[in-house]
Each structure stands twice: as structure tokens, then as C-alpha cells.
Symmetry: D3
Subunit: 281 residues, 6 copies
């Protein structure tokens, strides 16, 4: 018998699947420690090591119709082309009335999927779990950067559309910007219930920068920030979003396997993905 190379060994085709997962292996603007380009292929390779059944939810992944589309081939060194290629790909998934899940890659890539989502759902709001505010106007002289992505998304969605949780890092200007233009909750998920209430009736994109987790739980990321949330807190917060909002897409960003020598970060990302897939179904 030949082992399947797909995520969780899924053999569901694009056509029969409602959910489409794809990898976006790109980290060209990462200024500190690169490596998120390896996230999707590492998760794919390690996914057979995780049980496919969720004892907490009482459901097996085999009951969820999801397709693993593989990794996009992206243009290292050309950020604009890379974002355009991802946007095109995500847009096609939305156009087919499916639910795209992007595995990053650096957080900048969320700009592409949000653009695609916004094209399809013009009332789109973003729920953003992250250690970093990512609200810079520019970073190292660059407008399209992992550190500016939420500002760029603001440029598209405008006020009352960005809701940030778990944030514990950023410069002064970012927090001043947040005060004016986003909802930003420091350190944890307080205020999430109210946010969900407020977003009733709108379409929602959930972006998860996995460094929102405490580095003890998730060391494998480029810019670890002490003082983060636990695995269970993140899982429950996401469950609230999935249960209470009209979520049209989510992403899992910033796993960096080179900084995860024991593999616990990849295992944790996979477990979150399993739980989220089951919750969605």
C-alpha cells in the first residue's frame, strides 16, 4: 500500500470538497529569522503522525470533506507577483463557493487572501489572533511587509473591520493607530464575545498568527514573544469564532520549522488544524 503524501492523507478531490487547503511557502519580507516557507510541507509530512479523531469533539477527520491542493510555487524576490498569485488562487476557491484555508508562510500573505475574500464578500471583517499588531505604515522602507500587513488590510477594509486579540508587541505608532482604527485587545481574548456579537450578519475572515501562542507551547516561529496564550485558550477562542460568526476563510501563519527542533510546534499547528476542520464541518 502506498502512503498518501497529502495533509492527513486526505484523498478528497477539489470537486467533492467544500474546504480547500493550500500551502503558501514564502517568507521573503521576514527580516529577522526566516523559515516559515517550510511550514506547509513540514505539516504535510508530519500529519500522518497525528490521530485523525478528536476526542474532545467526538468526530473523525474522515467525516470532513477537505482537499489538500498542495503548495503554490511562488516567486522568491518578487512580493507583488507572489501576492497576485495567491490572490488569484484564493479567488478561484471563493468563486467555486468553497472555503479556502491558507497555511503560511509569513503573515504578509494574508493580504492576498483577504483581498480575494473582500472581492467576494464586501462586508468582510477580520478577526486577528497574533502576538504582534502588524500595523506599521512601513517597515525597513517597505510597504508590503509581515510587519505592515494589518495596516494594508485596513487600507482595504477601513474602520470597524479589524479585531485584534492576544497582541503583546508593536511600536508606539501602531498602538496609536489601533486606538483610532481597530479593536485591539492586549495579551488575551477578552472582548471576543462582544466582537462576535458585533459581527453578526457580516462575513468574517479569521487570521491566526500562531505566535499568539506562548513560546513554551509554540517555540517554532520567527519572533517568539513571551507571555502568550495557551493551546486550549486559542482553540476555544477559535471555536467561539467558528460557532458564532459567518467565517468564510481562515489561515494559520508563521510556523517556522527550523526553530522547532522537537517538532512540538508543527504537532500543535496540526492539532489546531484538525480541530478547526472538524469544527467547521
Amino acid at each position: 500500500m502506498i502512503a498518501s503524501n497529502t495533509l492527513f492523507e486526505t484523498e478528497c478531490s477539489y470537486e467533492e470538497a467544500k474546504i480547500i487547503i493550500f500551502g503558501a511557502p514564502f517568507d521573503s519580507t521576514t527580516s529577522y529569522r526566516p523559515g516559515t516557507r517550510f511550514a506547509s510541507r513540514t505539516m504535510r509530512a508530519e500529519s500522518y503522525g497525528l490521530e485523525y479523531y478528536s476526542p474532545g469533539q467526538g468526530v473523525d477527520l474522515s467525516e470532513v470533506k477537505f482537499h489538500d491542493a498542495g503548495d503554490l510555487t511562488l516567486s522568491f524576490g518578487d512580493v507583488n507577483q507572489t501576492l497576485a498569485d495567491i490572490e488569484t488562487f484564493a479567488n478561484k476557491i471563493f468563486s467555486d463557493n468553497k472555503f479556502p484555508i491558507m497555511i503560511g508562510g509569513e503573515h504578509l500573505l494574508t493580504l492576498a487572501t483577504v483581498k480575494a475574500a473582500h472581492k467576494n464578500f464586501d462586508d468582510l471583517a477580520i478577526i486577528h489572533f497574533d502576538a504582534h499588531a502588524d500595523l506599521r505604515e512601513e517597515y525597513l522602507g517597505v510597504k508590503l511587509s509581515h510587519a505592515t500587513v494589518m495596516h494594508r488590510i485596513f487600507d482595504i477594509l477601513g474602520d470597524n473591520s479589524i479585531f485584534q486579540f492576544g497582541i503583546r508587541s508593536g511600536d508606539k505608532l501602531e498602538f496609536e493607530f489601533a486606538k483610532k482604527h481597530t479593536y485591539l485587545n492586549l495579551f488575551d481574548f477578552e472582548g471576543l464575545d462582544e466582537t462576535i456579537e458585533k459581527l453578526k450578519g457580516r462575513h468574517v475572515y479569521l487570521t491566526v498568527d500562531l505566535d499568539v501562542l506562548d513560546p513554551s507551547v509554540f517555540p517554532g516561529t520567527g519572533t517568539p514573544e513571551a507571555g502568550g496564550v495557551s493551546f486550549v485558550e486559542l482553540m476555544k477562542a477559535a471555536f467561539k469564532v467558528f460557532d458564532g460568526c459567518n467565517v468564510v476563510s481562515f489561515d494559520l501563519m508563521e510556523l517556522s520549522p527550523p526553530y522547532d527542533p522537537s517538532g512540538i510546534s508543527t504537532a500543535t499547528a496540526l492539532k489546531l488544524l484538525r480541530e478547526f476542520l472538524i469544527r467547521l464541518s
Copy 2:
């Protein structure tokens, strides 16, 4: 002065010791990430780095009479022979009215020590701390596997004899099997007091798959599962068992040094062993 190569530099002989520790370096059925074969020798090599006094219990290891028997030489590639050799060794320790402690190796090896214990104590019950239920009927076509060990033990001990705590992984059939044939508590140690109460009068074997610990605390294991218990929770749960049950043997399984680059998992396993040795005495 020559440094001792034994665990915690013990120089206690087999004869004078009440407690006999041995290593079982075998992981042939481990299908995902091997390495637990290195656990006992790594623990032995690193044990001099730990203080031998327990400030919590106020006792020094030098007051405990334990012998380090070293590592068994096992037949890689021959599971039956390996299990037979361990059973013989453990049986001899029981026959000498001593208390065996096995340092794994993969969890399947517990089948051998439990067999030996059952031969000596026919009312034996098992308390099982683990992230995984290990209740499969077979795994990858194999009946003797790390993933089936508790099912094989059930084949010997039958109903009302297996009490599982901390479990957070397994397939659907395992949880259905557990509902019928074992006591299984998800995620934590709830129900342990009642279990201890129920086991009054019986002999008890405590098997600890160290992956019951959260991966942040114990990354060095083959199949890390997010959402586990803390070091203090595990220590206290084991203390309850040692204090409240007639424990005849325990084991510490599934430390995998290759996935523990910082050494914190080995250090934690050693600290647990120190605390358990002192508690037993």
C-alpha cells in the same frame, strides 16, 4: 576519585536494594518518530546533574535503597523475544520480593512487566497516565505495538482493571472500547481519588507514558500532544497513587532524547524518578 556511571550514582547492590531500576532500550514498533531506545542511557548519563535532595519532601535519595541494574540487551527486530526477555527479568525481581522500575523504551514494553506482575499478583490493576489510549486491537497490521499495549493488557487482566488518565488522543474505536472495558478520564486526573478508593485491597501497577505531560514541559517524546498536564499535576497525581495504593511496580516510558535538544525532558523525567523513589521509601 572515579565518577559512578549508575543512575544518580547509586552504589547500592541488587541484594541490599528493595527497588530495582532497569532500562529497556527498545522502540522497534514505534511507527512515527523513534528514539525512546536512548532514554535510559541518557537519563543515566545526565542524572549526576540533578540535586539528589528533594526540598519538597525533605528527603535525600541517599536514604533510599535502590539498585541500578543497567540496560537490558534486547533483540531489535524480534518483538516476541524482547518481551519475553523483559518479562523474565521483571519476574525475577518480583520473585525476589523487590520492586521493579522500568525505564522505557516504547510503551509496548509495559506488556512484559505487567505480565510478570500479574504472574505474581493475580488481583493486579493498572493505573495508566498517558496522552494516548493505546487501546487499538491492532496497528499497521501488528498486534504487538505501542498503540495496542493497553488492549493487550486488557486481554490479560480483563474488565475493571484498567484506569486511564490524561488521555487526549486515540481513534473512535478505542474510545468505544474504553467505554466498555476501562475507566478512561479525558485530559486530566479527575476521578483519580475515586479510582484509588476503588482499588483498595488490590495490587497496582502504575504505568506512566511521559507524553501525558504537556509538550511545552516535555517536548522529548515521539508523539507530542498539545493540551497535557503540568509537571506538578503529574507529580501530585503519582504521589496520590503511591500514598493510596499498594503499588508493586511502576514504569516511565517514551522519553525520546533525540527530540529533546535542550535536555529539559530528560531533566524532568529524572526529577520525577527522584521524587517517586523518595515517595516510595
Copy 3:
């Protein structure tokens, strides 16, 4: 564009290919340092990082018709079943008049492919490049072991059929056995020309234990042996075999990625595979 997950991104189907590559991720009898189970998937994952054109031979891999069949799912803990499954798979490839290439896994697995080859070519001879003689009668009480594989193959093929090169490790009995039953050349490839001459008219299986290479060149293996051959020496020796013999299959065994932190061993294995594929075509 979606990146291909196959070896060298080949998209050639089984049907149109003359050459079929498959991974055999198994190392249960490895008694010292495990990890060869990860070889095929690591090679597959890293193969896009190598240029597909051979400047030495002036040919591009795209001109070679080979299929990547993926990895077999093998029964960890059941050696007999594992060997049977590989033999069945290899036998089917031979039956289809194709050329199988196995990526190990531990060297014992060569027993399965040689059995399949022998079933199809009854005049089969083996050319064996390795640091270790692998001629033990048994090892740790086990007859089917990485350390006994050439003895087991001798049991099938008999005298005048095994030709060993690069050997620099083994016990006394193995070298005595070799004197009687195999051609064994210590340290290097001396005598290879004569061997090739002698094998004219017979079918030949080439088994390459990559630890024949010097550990400086190929650190990523379970039992590194100082004093080995260079990359160019191995490549040229294999070219001689491909050019001068009627080779029906070859394998590349014993790459162990956990012991290859810089990745140079995987890169070297891939380059050898590229060069061999082109040479065969």
C-alpha cells in the same frame, strides 16, 4: 501553479515510465541509531533544491522516463510482513518489465527486492557497495537484520554471486565467511573491472549502502565508518556497473536524515540518484 510533491517533481506515470522509484521507510531492526525510515520522504521533500541537469553527463532528468510511486506503508514491528510487502511490490514492477529503484530504509530491505529480482532473473548476481560486510549469520539473536542481509541473500543466491566493495567493518566470522563465499574487496573499488568482466551475461542487482561514502561526505547515516570513498569515486564505480553490466535494479540504502543536520547527505544521495537515473537512460 501548484508545486509537485514527487521526487524531482516528476509527473511521469507508472505506465509511461520505464523506471519506478519507491520509498521503503522501515528501520525496525536497526539496533544502533534509527532514522533511515525518514530517508525517502526527506529526499522527496528536498529534491526540488537540486538542479535537474547533469553538467557531467550533459543530460537533463526531464529526458528520463521515471515514475515516483511514493512510499510503501510498512508494518513497524513485523519484519516478515514488511519484507513480504516489499517483495510483492518489487515483483510487480519486474513483471511489468520495468526497473525498480528502492530508496531505503535499512539495508535488510534489500533482501526483499533481491528475492523479487531472483524470481524474475535466476542468474542474478549482486554488486554490493557498503562500509559493512552485513554477512553475520545472526545478530542480537535475530536472523533477519540489517547486519545479516548479505548472508540471507547468500542463502538464496549461493556462491559466486555476491561481490562486495568498500567494506571496512565487520566481525571476524564475517570476513572468514566472505573468504569462502563472496568476493570482498576492502576499503575501495579495486577489482571492480574484473568483477564486471566476470558478470558478463548475467543479470545484476546493485545495492548501495550509502555509508560506503566517507562520513565527511555523508555524515547522515546510522553507523558512520571513517576511511570511506569519495563522492566521485562512488559515482564512477556505479557508472562502471551501469555501463558494463546488465543491471535490472538498484537501491540506495541507509540515509538517515536525523544525523544530517546540514542536509549534505540528503543532497548527495539525491545527486547520486540524478546521475544514476541519467546514466541508466
Copy 4:
């Protein structure tokens, strides 16, 4: 533009700074796992990866006047000379009415800075956060050792001057010594408020052995001890000391980068340093 090589890229000179940070790269008496000699240069190299603004305190490091004096060149193999050199350097900083911060290095080095502090402030008391009591009279036959440092400091300061928190390791004699001569609180920061109250009017030196943190949070240290405090607990305890005591100096000791493959320990040490610098100002 040329990147600055200093801690947090500070360009503040010795003259204009109130706070002087220096590295003390020495670990010659570390008997178990060396590596703290690399702490200061690793922190310096990685410090640009941390945001300089503290969202919790609402202040940016640029508002704090601190100078990075670089690393001392110390005499490996000559403990007395090393301590003398550090004491001289720290003494000069005190003499200039500045606030020295030492980045260790092994904990023994605190003896040198405390000596310098004591020379300048004869009512000095020590607050000591650590997993280890460090109260041995001698260790491996040596009086000047990482394991004896608090005993040596007691030799200088005498009774009622040492206040220890978070301690969870030591031998029996150390805890007996503590009962007579220091305030020692096991495991956590209980009693810190009372200590601070008691120290009103005295000058205080705060020494932080970073292994007071739980190994999950801070794996990168020579002797990890399970059961430690969290990042937030440590930060808040230190804030209490800075807010409530007349602190004249502090140190951050025992970060060991070789045991921190993911970099989370270095990142955590830097974040603590940032928070402490801001709190002091």
C-alpha cells in the same frame, strides 16, 4: 545605513547614560553543562529582533538612557582574576554614580558585583530569584563556585541580608543553612511583599538566575529544574522590587544559548531586560 551592534542598538554613551550594561562571559566553574559564556553576545546579536516598545508599560526603550559597555575579556581558568576584574569594573560604575547591570555568565560572578555594591553601599541586602539555593560551603572541593555563591555573599553581608525566592533545588545542608541565615521561600514569590517592606531604607541588589523560570518557558540554561515560575510571575515580582526597593544594581544570569535551539530563552531574557530597563527609568 550601518546596523548597530549594541544591545537594542543603543547609541547612548557611558557619559550620558545612567544605566550601564556589561556582559561577563565566563562559566569556568560550571560543572554540568557549560555555555553561559555565550549569553551576552547572543543577547546582543538577537536584540534587534525584539520590539523596543513595551505595550504593557506604554514606554519605548528609546526613552531610557542606557549604555552597552560590551563584554569584559575574562581569564578562563583563573577564577580569582576574573572576579577581581569584574569587581573593578562594577566598582567604577558605582563610583560614577551609575547603575550597573551585569549579563552573566555563571552565577558565581554575582559575587564580584555584590562586593562592588557592598563597597559603595554598606547596608546592602540581596534579593535572589533562582531555582537553586547556591548556599553550599564548597562544591567539588572548590570554594568559589556557581553552587556556593550565595554562601560567599553571606560571608560578606551576614545575617538578615539575603532573601531567596523560587528556590526548588539544593542539598540538605543548604536548606539547613538557609533556615539559620537567609530568608528562603520555596517554589514561588510568596513573602516578597513582606521582604520589600522589611528592606525599606536599605540599598538592594537584585540577582536573577533565569533558571527560576520554568524550563518550558526558559529551556536554555545549564541545570533546568521543572516546576518553576512563569514569565509574567517573574516580571511582576521584579516590578515589585523595582517599585518598592532602592535597587542599586541587578543582574541576569545563567542564560545558556547552546541549550536554546529555538531561541525562546534568549528572546525571553531580552524581553525581561527591556521591561526592567523601562521600569527602572
Copy 5:
């Protein structure tokens, strides 16, 4: 005494130095394994571990007047800006009649320094030591890439100006291009003497991609290629160039510390730099 943080602890100022070394930490177009961004700071940090005297040449580095200008701050994610900033910096050094040495970073950056050199020396020729031809017209849809750099340089310098040695990787088109437009010697330094002869009277830039070395000698690079040259061969070839040509600048590119866990690649790069600095003086 405070340790110097500069390369080889040089304290020579820009003004008094003839030779100016700077780091260019950028690898945004690296499509396979990133990490060369860490080369210059790792070399700087480790340089104190190397003896400063060359027994082969009988000269000490202290006799060479070189300045360490530190690392440039570059715009991750903006290739054009990055190249412009490097060109400006190199151009200033040339304008000051000094000799720039760039420590990469990815090989694309050589385009910037060559541009600066060409502006100052219009008869410029390039001697290129590398495993890879780097002659692609474009790569992954990108014109400015590590894989296209020699093509881009050809666009500037034209025919009879590029001399490549040690090349053992590239696609078919690159080798066809080389046949027409460059001198390319496969595998080793054959033909170097003739090249040097031919270049008499012209200014020469020497670019060294350190992966020209065999991976056994230099594992720490993104795309290791088996079959490379030895340390002594590279050193002697460079000495020939320095002795026989009018060299105006050189660079050392593609050291990637994350793939150099033992540190031998960094040590080798530093030793080459020491030898080259002494040879130049």
C-alpha cells in the same frame, strides 16, 4: 578590558584603513534554504576564536590595515532598494580609493558591488568561483535572483569579462549561454593560469561563492553540491588571482550558519578571509 565586537577585533578606522569590510545580510531571493543573512554577524561573533597569525604566510593580521564597517541595514522584501543601497556604499569605498570586501548574503548582491566597481573601473573583469553557474535569464519569474546574478553581470560587462571556475551545477541553457559568453571551467580551477595571463592590464573583481568548496569542508550553505574543491585548492587559486591580477575588490558569499551546526563552515570562511587579507597586504 572590553572585548571588541569587530571582525578579528580590528580597531582600525575607515580613514586609516586601505581595506573596508562590510556585511550585507540579505537573502530574500533565496528560493531553497535561507540563512545567508546571518553570515556576517556570525563571522564577526566567531572571529575571536581564530588565531590572527598565518603560519603559511608568516604574517599577522595586525600588520594589515583593514576596517570593519559593520552590517548594512537592508530592506527585506525590496530587492531593488537593497541593491541600490549596497551599490552606493561600495561606490563610496571605491571613490575613497579603498578596497571593499563584501561578506554576503546571497550571491545576487554581487551585482551591486560589481556595478560600483564597473563605474570606477570600466575595463573590469570578473573571476567567479562557484558550484553554480548563476547564468539563468530569469528564475521563478524573477530577473534579479541569486540564480541569475552572473547573467545580470554579463548584461553590464558583456563578452570576454566573466571567468567561471569550479562550476558543477546549472541548467542546460546556462551552459549553452556560457559557451557563447563566458569562460566556464567545470569542477575545478583548470585554466586559471591562462585566465590570469589574459587579464593582465585589466581590473579584476573576484567573487567567491563559498559553495565552490566541497560540502564536507563547507556544509553551511543553502545549496550544497557534492564534488567540490578542497580548502587548500580554493586558497591557492585565490592566491594566484591576488598575486597575478589587479584585484580591486572581492566578496565571500553564501555562508549560511543555520546549516552549519558544528561551526566548521564559519571557521573556514574566517580562515579564508584572514589568508586573503594578509595576501592582499
Copy 6:
């Protein structure tokens, strides 16, 4: 069966053995990268992975009478005490008419064994294989240092007694000192035959700093120096010494397991030890 923990599982007692091996785990004066303290225990732990038979010499280790005395317990932080303890231990072995073999540890420790040898053999000469001259008068202000050991030995033995080979590193003064007081051959073993001839009639101590090997072959050492000798060259040179001189002791120094992630350096050191033990017998 219980596995033996000794080197190569020897069970030969001190009394019956002619050769006594002991570990000296100390590296307190190592100023750059520590870790040689782990050499002897790592070699002991890994020695079962090496074949005990030498195909080159045709002899099995079981035919050699050697005892593994284990590791000395040494005083980290007290160099004088450490040297005294080693000298005492070695002296006892010489007094018992046995042959001591020390496994380092840092090279300074050779001073202790040479002192013991000199006490027993007053015509002693040293043959020294090393990358570094180790002839400094003092280092970092310290007289007893890994970098001064051969100078200290010269202080004892005087002129015409030190013969150095493979040297490729040192400062100017060391080479000037060597010109006057030692025989020093740069880079390789040229002149070894003449040295052996000259030493006829004298007792000889052979000290092997394993960094004489090329870093490609032996990365696991604190100060790797490119351009070293090969494994076979070192083995053959040592064989010459053993065959031609009256060797009374030898040592193997400076293996540093933390810089040997693939384990090839430990494996190489063990193979050298096996070959040397057999050659001696």
C-alpha cells in the same frame, strides 16, 4: 542480559589489564567553545555501535587486555587541583607497570599525565599531533591553559624533547619559540620517520589533539582548523609511532560532542582508539 556500560563493553579488571583507559572530563580553561568535558562519557556511551574487529589489522579488541577505569571526578574551577588529581591517578598506573590512556578533556590535562610519565621515565620525549602549537607562554593572563600546555611541558622536559606534527595554527611568538626549542612540522607528518629514528632508546609519550584531523572528518572540536590531515594519514602516523618507538602512554584530546551533531567525530575517535589498542597489543 545486561549491557555493559564500559568502553567497548570491556570487562577486563584493572588487575588483569596491561592498558588502563580513563576519562578526564574537564575544560575549564577552554576560552572559546567548551564541551570536551563530555568526550569520554559520549565515547563510552557510543562505543557499542562500533564493530570490535579491525579488518585492517585482522585482530579483535577482545584479544586486547584493557581496563576502562571510568571518568575522574574533577574540580571545576580549580585547575591546580585538577592537574594534581590526574597526575596522581596516572602515576599510580605507571607505578603498577601499566600503560595509561587518557581521554580528554582539554589539552592542558596532558601536562598532568606527562608529569607522571616523566616521574617514571626521565628520558621522556613527546610526540605531539595537533593543529595548534600550544606553545604560548601565557594565555589571557593564565599560565595553565590549553594554549600553553606544550610550553609548560617544555618547562619540564627541556630542549630536544618535543616533536610537533600537523601544526597549522599559533601566534608568531609560538613559532619563534618552536624554532629554538621544539621540532615543529607544519601541516602534515613529514619528518616523522626521522623523529622516530632519533627517539630510539628513549621513552615516548604520544599526545593526539584530535583537531589535527581536517574539520570535514572531525567537526566535533572546539577550534576547528581547515587544512588538516585525513583519518588514514593520522592512523598511519600513529602506527609508525607505536611500531617504532617505546611508547609508554598516549592520550586522545579535544573531542567536543556538542559540536558533533551527526556523531561522526565520536565514531572516528572510537575507531582510532580501537585501532591504537589493537596496535599496542
